[in-house]
Amino acid sequence: MNVPLLEVENLVVHFPLPRGVGDMAAGRPRRVVRAVNGVSLAVRRGEALGIVGESGCGKSTLGRAMLHLVPATSGHVRLDGRVVAGLDREGLTGLRRRAQIVFQDPHASLDPRQTVRRALAEVLTLHRLCPRDAMGRTVDRLLERVGLSAALGDRRPGSLSGGQCQRVGIARALALNPDILVADECVSALDVSIQAQILNLLLDLQAETGMAIVFISHDLGVVRHLCHRVAIMYLGRLVEEGPAEVVLRDPRHPYTRALIASIPGLGHGPKTAVQGEPSSPIDLPAGCAFHRRCAEAMEVCRGGAPPARQGNAEHGTWCHLPRAGGTTPIAQETGLR
């Protein structure tokens, strides 16, 4: 079998919280945010993989851990079959060159004092990708590829719109010609019409370069449009993964079904598909992390180990009683089109 481009195996990322004086006096143990709790996932060459979940589910931490921007507590991240943890400085630079990230807040992810041109030139210089005399042309070409005029290169982020800043962020990642681009909620802060432009840009760039995209988002509608495969997360664990179209038409996990039913615009009226809100990742329930909100929870869901993966190699779900979804609103395909 082919080695996947990037592979995550049993990845765990925990963030210990500072212990207060009161906690120490009372002898309470240090509390830990269990952001990612044993995720195994592969990114294939050239594909678009969506990672979907609500706030606090660990999707951004997972994306960052994939690029070794946060250290894994345990488990492995492999790029082309080689473990990423423990790389020296040179190895890390090599990793960064092949795996890039675009963040949600387009303004906060650029240096406000740097012109666009300098921000892009800095990346090229750092990675020794472009001789100095060719820099101007290379930067112009980068700007053009993301749909910005060369004149914009002399501006600073403060005088750019959100959509323009996001294009600069994408150009900066693109400068290295990466094999994999992690896009962390990169269109969430943008207006609908600008969001569509950026999605088109990502589609065009992927067709042009063949890079893989890990698209982290809370918006199942956008993920459905852009991604070949999708992984649904809940409280630090995967609950379902598979081809996007299959998962959305035939969701097996109750949480996936609830998410789909909650997408506005399918013309079924807002349904309270699921009660309550996610628990805190500090205080994880035993058993299946979703059982407190799951209408179908049984005794086996409430204790013991979390459910193991079920299904086949393509479409898997982590549920004690995975069921065929059958008629989701998406399967019926009504409403806004």
């Binding site: 678009a48 609500e54 706030s55 719109s161 959509g163 323009q164 207006d191 609908v192 019409s193 600008i194 969001q195 569509a196 432009q197 999605l199 088109n200 589609l203 065009d204 809370h218 918006d219 199942l220 509608g221 956008v222 459905r224 449009h225 852009l226 070949h228 996007a244 179209e245 609830a258 998410l259 039913a261 909650s262 997408i263 506005p264 615009g265 399918l266 013309g267 079924h268 009226g269 807002p270 349904k271 309270t272 598909a273 699921v274 009660q275 309550g276 809100e277 996610p278 409403g335 806004l336 089109r337």
Partner: protein, 328 residues
């Protein structure tokens, strides 16, 4: 009840609002007008800077002090012009007859007062209830907005509640005065999608059970389709199209509405380019003369630059502000 025959609860005409900025006076809202019937659920849609929030705040006398100014127009609510009311009168109307819910409940709830004290304050002020009765009423209101465990939550502070619960508390406060109109400005934008569905369901149920009229400010056309009777689409400070939500969204007529719908990923086969609108909205100080959408519009003609088109009735309760209407 038919929305068309009953007298409007709220009638806005020719609303114009400008802001004083370091770069000069900027017109944020221009010539906005609509009617809202009792029990009507209207979506006010547009992208950031389109003037939807400013429209609501101007009606309620909540423009930032000294910077925003109403330049003209009327907003008749239950027969009284809100735009000509003094502060005292406005305060009374806002607490009793018009409730407000904002995007970010954290910054609109008092961090050092419990939820119950805040709701109780509204009830005492506007209904003259004693403290004990006010608390009972507050629990009732919290139960009405489906706050889990209202008897306990009433003593919670905002920071102890989840995002969804905070928004429920805000809605309970907005309902405390027994309003006829609820103005909800992006009430679910900061919430997760499953919680968003719960809050929208709640708003719909309140409309049905209490006959509440609702103005919902949102950027999400999907939400409009699922919750609203009518919709008004704003672009660069003007309403460009309005009418029944189902027909406007099924067969939009203004090129901007068409473009907004085309930007939605669900409308296209997967991984196909979206029909995005080129360019970006004009900055508030840089409105082109004539139709503000013309520079991004695929149908723009010479006459679009002459004067900004006004809303014209095009039948079936629909209104469109485009020079192409009436020619087709």
């Amino acid at each position: 009840m038919s929305a068309a025959t009953s007298a409007p609860l709220l009638a806005v005409r020719d609303l114009a609002v400008s802001f004083h900025t370091p770069y000069g006076v900027v017109r944020a809202v221009d010539g906005v007008g609509f009617d809202l019937a009792p029990g009507e659920f209207m979506g006010l849609v547009g992208e950031s800077g389109s003037g939807k929030t400013v429209t609501c705040r101007a009606m309620l006398g909540l423009l930032p002090n000294g910077r925003g100014r109403v330049d003209g127009g009327t907003a008749l609510f239950e027969g009284v012009d809100l735009l000509r009311m003094d502060d005292e009168g406005l305060r009374r109307v806002r607490g009793r007859r018009i409730g407000m819910v904002f995007q970010n409940p954290t910054s609109h709830l008092d961090p050092v007062m419990s939820i119950g004290e805040q709701i109780g304050e509204v009830v005492r002020l506007h209904h003259g209830l004693a403290a004990g009765a006010a608390r009972v009423r507050a629990v009732e209101l919290l139960r009405g907005v489906r706050m889990p465990d209202p008897e306990t939550r009433i003593d919670s502070y905002a920071h102890q509640l989840s995002g969804g619960m905070r928004q429920r508390a805000m809605i309970a406060m907005a309902l405390a005065g027994g309003p006829a109109l609820l103005v909800a400005d992006e009430p679910t934008t900061a919430l997760d999608v499953t919680v968003q569905a719960q809050i929208l369901r709640l708003l719909l149920d309140l409309r049905d059970s209490q006959g509440l009229a609702i103005v919902l400010v949102t950027h999400d056309l999907g939400i409009v389709l699922e919750t609203c009777n009518t919709v008004a689409v704003m672009y660069a400070g003007r309403i460009v199209e309005r009418g029944p939500a189902a027909t406007v969204l099924a067969a939009p007529r203004h090129p901007y509405t068409i473009g907004l719908l085309g930007s939605r990923p669900g409308a296209f086969p997967r991984r196909e380019r979206l029909a995005a609108i080129p360019g970006q909205p004009p900055g508030p100080g840089a409105l082109p003369t004539g139709c503000a959408f013309a520079p991004r519009c695929g149908h723009a003609e010479a006459r679009c630059a002459a004067a900004a088109p006004t809303l014209r009735a095009v039948g079936d309760g629909r209104w469109v502000a485009c020079v192409r209407e009436g020619w087709s």
